[in-house]
């Protein structure tokens, strides 16, 4: 069983030249966990996650981990206003380059192994061809669902 056989091929994506406003709308409408970011040739250059959006509205001394707990501090006056300035920013400024991608021929065993070793906030694995053009996406549920279906069929 390969990645190609379990991936979802209908993937919502966003162009690297778009604005964050487009990304917000996509997150709101589709409720996706991560949005692949594509260049003009439809190649994957990064991902946008809801977590990267939250990260972008916090000051960097917090996101760097220098203050891991701020319950002693009153809310920053400009913290909420930050979200407005974020909307006009470009996708290319905020995309995360740290994402997982596999080829369609990768075995499901390998995909599963990769998935559990991923950084916790990225859950899905992208499937790309050798030119890094996006073919599909695999979430942990996809892996589980397809394996379950497979074993049910085998039992019958």
């Amino acid at each position: 069983m390969t990645a190609a056989s379990i991936m979802t091929t209908k993937v919502l994506s966003i162009s690297v030249s778009g604005t964050m406003y487009d990304a917000f709308k996509l997150v709101q409408e589709a409720r996706v966990r991560q949005i692949p970011v594509l260049d003009e040739q439809k190649r994957v250059v990064g991902i946008i996650t809801p977590r990267s959006l939250v990260k972008a509205i916090l000051p960097s001394y917090i996101t760097e981990g220098l203050l891991s707990d701020v319950k002693f501090a009153p809310e920053l006056p400009d913290f909420v206003r930050h979200i407005d300035s974020l909307a006009s920013k470009k996708v290319s400024d905020l995309l995360e380059k740290d994402f997982a991608a596999v080829s369609p021929e990768t075995s499901v065993m390998e995909v599963s192994t990769l998935m559990i070793n991923l950084k916790k906030h990225v859950e899905s694995v992208l499937v790309v061809d050798d030119k890094r053009v996006l073919l599909g996406i695999i979430s942990p549920w996809d892996v589980f669902k397809r394996l379950w279906d497979y074993s049910e069929k085998a039992r019958k």
Binding site: Y61, E64, L66, L67, D69, F72, A73, P74, L76, P77
Partner: protein, 426 residues
């Protein structure tokens, strides 16, 4: 003999050049130099190990472990916020309060740890106040290096000097400590005039500072109590060093092991937080400098210096003070001090023994620690603060920093010169 003499010098120069070039990790450079000396037959391994000052290494590791565990309790942030609140939200008074906290903390912790604790709090406070954080960054850089000068454990040069000479914690407090409050005041007053205009904020903003709840930083009260007991034990031990006949490394490592035992922290996690790259930098550097001692080059340099100063104590003292300050403002003060220590030791007989060169140690300490303030790359704390500032949208440019800091550094050395004259060299 002659051949190893030149090999040792060549390796030393190469190590120094690579450190100044600053493109490779300094620990890698020092260890490469050290192993090259052994491979090329200048030292055998036994002699190399003999050159390592394990007192410095032990003290550094012990303090890193203690400070890391104490940091988890939030006690240092508590102190910083408490200090800021005592100023009732006035921006200038906050700057003074945070400077005092920085100076005191860095006298007891290493300077980088200190600024990593105070700078994020500073950014939060200045954002609440909507004032420019730049003067706060400058004052915290300057005060971390000034405060660190006051004690044996405050700054690596002092740790090395104390280790090599047997000068104790209290020797440093009485030997260089008295001039530190004077330098503190002389440094902070000009900042008021330089940045005076940026300290005006509305009453509303001031009130926000009073909304900080410092008690919320204390996350683990049982651990806090344990940490305070161990800190009291360790600092008490340092103060009683002479009576106890203990080296500082023993005290620090004993405190660290007690704290590891009673805090029940995961040992692997704590050990990962020890800055091993710094430790191995020291190890490599000690070996490189030791080879210069072994081949007689330091002896040769000492004779040169005695010739140049005419064997005059005062001239030598001022030369070391100013020379160390200028050198440390450009290069890392650790390799510089590591080289100066055996040099001063070699000059001791000419001045009438170890006791007679005491003023030279204080000159080296003041020059090397305070000199680091001169440029943004002069000391590790400077580099760390400018890094955080940069990532938060406040660039600290080399010349812009130097324009303010270099004259203030020279002022601190001038004050030290007067101090040295009045107490030791006059």
């Amino acid at each position: 003999m002659a051949q190893t003499f030149y090999i040792a010098i060549a390796v030393f120069v190469a190590v120094y050049a690579l450190l100044i070039w600053d493109k490779l990790n300094r620990a890698v450079v020092a260890l490469l130099g050290a192993s090259a000396l052994i491979l090329l037959g200048v030292l055998n391994q036994e002699a190399a190990v003999h050159g390592i000052d394990f007192n410095t290494i032990g003290l550094l590791i012990g303090m890193m472990v203690i400070v890391f565990i104490c940091q988890d309790t939030g006690m240092f942030q508590y102190v910083a916020i408490r200090g800021a609140k005592m100023s009732k939200g006035d921006p200038w008074k906050i700057l003074v309060a945070l400077s005092i906290v920085t100076a005191i903390l860095s006298a007891l912790l290493d300077n980088v740890t200190t600024v990593l604790l105070t700078v994020p709090i500073t950014l939060l406070i200045t954002q609440e106040l909507e004032v420019n954080p730049y003067p706060y960054f400058i004052s915290q850089i300057l005060m971390s290096n000034i405060g660190g000068t006051a004690t044996l454990i405050g700054d690596p040069p002092n740790i090395m000097i104390g280790s090599a000479t047997g000068l104790t914690f209290m020797d440093f407090v009485f030997g260089v400590g008295p001039v530190i409050p004077i330098i503190f005041i002389a440094t902070i007053i000009p900042l008021r005039f330089i940045y005076g205009s940026s300290f005006k904020v509305s009453e509303d903003r001031k009130k926000r500072i009073m909304q900080f709840r410092e008690s919320e930083t204390l996350t683990d009260i049982p651990l806090l109590k344990k940490c305070l007991v161990v800190l009291a034990l360790v600092i008490g031990g340092f103060m009683m060093q002479r009576q106890l006949h203990l080296e500082p490394a023993t005290i620090a490592l004993f405190g660290a092991s007690i704290l590891l035992l009673i805090s029940k922290k995961d040992l692997h996690h704590v050990m990962e937080k020890v800055e091993w790259t710094s430790i191995f930098f020291f190890i490599g550097l000690f070996i490189v400098v030791h080879s210069l001692v072994e081949v007689g080059f330091i002896r040769y340099l000492a004779d040169l210096m005695l010739d140049a100063t005419g064997g005059d104590m005062a001239v030598t003292g001022y030369a070391i003070l100013w020379g160390s300050a200028i050198a440390s403002s450009i290069v890392d003060n650790i390799p510089f001090v590591a080289t100066m220590i055996p040099l001063i030791k070699n000059m001791a007989p000419a001045f009438g023994g170890d006791a007679a060169v005491l003023p030279l140690w204080w000159a080296l300490s003041l020059g090397a620690c305070l000199g680091g303030n001169g440029t943004i790359i002069g000391a590790s704390a400077n580099v760390v603060v400018s890094g955080i500032a940069h990532r938060n949208g406040h660039e600290m440019k080399f010349f812009k920093y130097m324009l303010i800091a270099y004259p203030l550094m020279l002022l601190s050395i001038a004050i030290s010169t007067v101090y040295m004259y009045l107490r030791y060299l006059g």
